[in-house]
Symmetry: C2
Subunit: 515 residues, 2 copies
């Protein structure tokens, strides 16, 4: 794998723990994050962009946004020149965009294994797994509430997935652990079971602080102060509302120079207007305000403009995924993000299906393709998402993760060097021949075409004799094989002990809470 080799040669700097870990790590082949060599697909005309940008500023100026239960935020906005009335913040035309200018257009998120560092922004695409589902599903156990053991399994699968660059955050909700202690077990899993980068907790400012403190143990305190080691998900309460819990977490992260995704969470028709242009206007207004606020906390703090947007089925009220309007919004929001010079988070392996069946395949492929072509820089939910995000599916995790390989190859673009032109091959074979044995094919076939490591390519007879397995069955076998052969990446023993001690001490300091 050339990408991997290249990555190893151009090794960045890392913490002491990272360097120690590398020396003994079990080798898992992981692809370098994607750097696109293909253009972005753009659905908005210049005129459409200008209308939407103008309207978004009108929304901020005229209607404003709410920063709820957050007097300090209101003070910051007042000082910055906004018109604050109660908890409503009206932002003069141009101010938010000006504040956003200090946010970096690209940044490095460090992993404890520096080979796994990711560059977020520019032409890059970093792939992270599903986030948030309270349920899990697998072929044997069906649908059930997620546990911390499920969580650990997903982190292990993520660690072993070649095309996945990031371990993510809440890969499922470990509902068997008290709400106020979950984040500790989740962080510990990401820190010990994989050496890929990960996300911090956002469900309380104190849990964001725990995330920073545990990272200080893992990476070293100085390293964390000087580098970004977490990218965390801050949702906006669309429409136009920023709650104190999420903003409190953002404040902790921005202060510590840790990255946040500031992301509207929109089911179009419910949390935004039932039109593409209207939804894009609201997305832009909300992210302008959110990103600007991050820069009021610390100018230069890394931040990603997010857009989690889908459409609604007006018959049932259910969110729908992989739909054309969601694609248009995703393409359009990418154009708006690039105009702001901000990294862009959107898309994922989205589907509404209850099962990892054909519906899941169609909808997820629609979403993954639009993610690649829309210029997304950070793709959360790129694998494992099922049932509108209510379920993390083990089989779907490896099915999507396999498809992510296709995105890598698509992004390479088309080479026209002499070897790729293949004129020698066309001359050698001539009319009526075949290329299977020709020199050019022999030299190139191993790297020429992307090949799934999951899907069925066998002749019908062989496939039939081997039981006629469908995709879910093949995926379930792969899940088992991966979990059976998983080995944790090496970690300095003292660091592992200190992390465990931190978790134990924190847990002991609080009564359990389940809501």
């Amino acid at each position: 794998m050339t990408d991997v080799a290249q990555r190893r040669r151009s090794r960045g700097t890392g913490g002491g723990a990272a360097r120690r870990a590398e020396r003994t790590a079990v080798n898992v082949e992981v692809a370098r994050f994607i750097t696109r060599n293909i253009p972005n697909f753009e659905v908005l005309t210049e005129e459409a962009i200008e209308v939407i940008e103008y309207n978004a500023e009108t929304v901020l100026e005229e209607i404003g946004v709410v920063f709820a239960n957050n007097p300090a935020a209101l003070d910051r906005w007042r000082d910055a020149g906004a018109d604050v009335d109660g908890d409503r913040v009206r932002i003069p035309r141009g101010l938010a965009r000006k504040l956003c200018a200090t946010a970096p257009s690209t940044f490095t998120q460090h992993a404890r294994n520096s080979d796994r560092n990711v560059e977020i922004g520019g032409k890059n695409l970093v792939l992270a797994p599903v986030y948030g589902p309270p349920f899990v599903r697998d072929i044997d156990g069906g649908r059930r509430y997620a546990t911390i053991e499920d969580f650990r399994k997903f982190v292990k699968l993520g660690h072993m997935s070649k095309w996945l660059h990031h371990s993510g955050g809440t890969v499922c909700e470990p509902t068997d652990v008290p709400v106020n202690k979950r984040h500790l077990d989740m962080l510990l899993a990401h820190m010990t079971l994989t050496d890929k980068p990960f996300m911090g907790s956002v469900t309380e400012p104190s849990r964001a602080q725990d995330s920073v403190d545990m990272c200080s143990i893992l990476f070293g305190e100085d390293f964390v102060q000087q580098n970004t080691v977490m990218t965390s998900l801050i949702n906006i309460n669309s429409p136009l509302t920023f709650d104190d819990v999420m903003m409190g977490a953002l404040e902790v992260y921005a202060k510590n120079n840790q990255a946040c995704i500031v992301s509207p969470f929109i089911v179009g028709g419910a949390m935004a207007p039932v039109s593409v242009a209207g939804t894009l206007t609201q997305v832009l207004a909300e992210t302008l305000a959110g990103v600007a606020y991050s820069q009021l906390i610390r100018a230069g703090a890394p931040v990603i403009m997010g857009a989690f947007v889908t459409s609604i089925d007006m018959n049932s009220g259910a969110p729908t995924f992989g739909t054309p309007e969601a694609s248009q919004i995703t393409y359009g929001a990418g154009q708006l993000a690039r105009r702001l010079g901000l990294p862009y988070r959107s898309a994922g392996g989205f589907c509404g299906s209850k099962l990892p069946d054909a519906q899941a395949g169609y909808e997820s492929a629609n979403s993954l393709n639009m993610g690649l072509l829309s210029g997304v820089n950070f793709m959360l939910h790129s694998c494992g998402w099922l049932e509108g995000g209510l379920v993390s599916s083990f089989e779907k995790f490896v099915m999507d993760a396999d498809q992510l390989g296709a995105l890598h190859h698509m992004a390479k673009g088309v080479s026209i060097d002499e070897n790729a032109q293949a004129m020698d091959a066309i001359r050698e074979v001539g009319p009526g021949g075949h290329f299977l044995g020709c020199d050019h094919t022999q030299r190139n076939f191993k790297e020429a075409f992307w090949r799934s490591n999951l899907l069925d390519y066998k002749p019908f007879e062989q496939w039939s004799e081997e039981g006629g397995r469908d995709t879910v069955t093949l995926a379930a076998e792969k899940v088992q094989h991966m979990l059976n052969t998983y080995q944790p990446p090496a970690l300095d023993v003292a660091i592992a002990e200190n992390l465990a001690a931190y978790v134990e001490q924190k847990k002991a300091s609080m009564p359990d809470a389940f809501a």
Copy 2:
């Protein structure tokens, strides 16, 4: 459905039979063919295009193409200025491109119901079903050889599919009918069971002539001579070989001003070099020669530049579908076709899966999306394709046909009229509200978002109580419902009798042949 209403208002001209049919036709809602209001996605740089175009001319000039067993074709090429050596035709640089210039950039294919006429070329996309499989599959009967009764069922399903514009050709091979008589039964089915446009036979020149003759009965002889009423599929024997059977059929069609798709059939690595640029070079050389030849038969005859291209799995030798290299070739070939000013045929709902499962969903969605974004004008195989084209699947037919609706909505692009801007809605709802009940939503929700008529959007509990059906099960139920409620479009009784008599007389004139 606005598209349909619009189409009905702007009715084109048609034959007498078409007009008679319309007056009594059972109403089936059919969308107008797609006219894109979105850009094409282009992977080739200007430099890459120039390299490929230069190399394709080198192939034609230096290596040349073979026109096998076809002395008349060799004479035509010699007269046109090519260097003919045995059956090898070497075409001087620039000649083929010059000959292609007389082919129209867009043409109308007429249907017997003029509401169903399609415009092929420009920004349009016409969707046609799967072509060629010897097997069929359904949920109850499994995989088996296709019969004429299966064929008729597919034509009926196509007739009732809202998003399908074209009835196609060999939707499956009716293997229970002698090889030399199949085309008669197939044509009769397309002519009587649907009023959508269709394809002619290409397996013998005489069968192409039968197709023209039967069209003369259906549309009237004068109408056929003055209008294009068939678009037929002429495959090139890649690499660089044009066989006499396919070319004989093309000659019949071009003489009669009927349209052909001139299409390399390439599994990359076997029939073309194992590289994207090399395959594109060969595709361009082959289509330049094939399209040029159609213009030697009759300058101005309608012709489509085709590219059926996929990659090979170098482990098993199986063709693979929905892969990134196939996408790159499809995007690139679209750029080359537009440079030639020719309508472009490619893509489809391609998959290698044996079952209509998640693999089929991923691969088909990958292919359908690339078809929309690559500027394809005529998409054969847009629904029903399974197992690498060996199987026509009843369930997959309706699954794909449903997804074709998403392509229609995606192609509409993003409106920015005042209603779409939705500033009144954002003002009315304000921070923290919801849009479900607001005026703008009430006015727009019915048309705002595409909605699947097949996939599951129900709450988990309801879905579960109703049996937890997967996509294939839902599709099988839809197939049954469609076949149970199918009604044939009205057809003039005399025409129907004349068509049946033609088929009967032709069949009686030949002994059965099964190979």
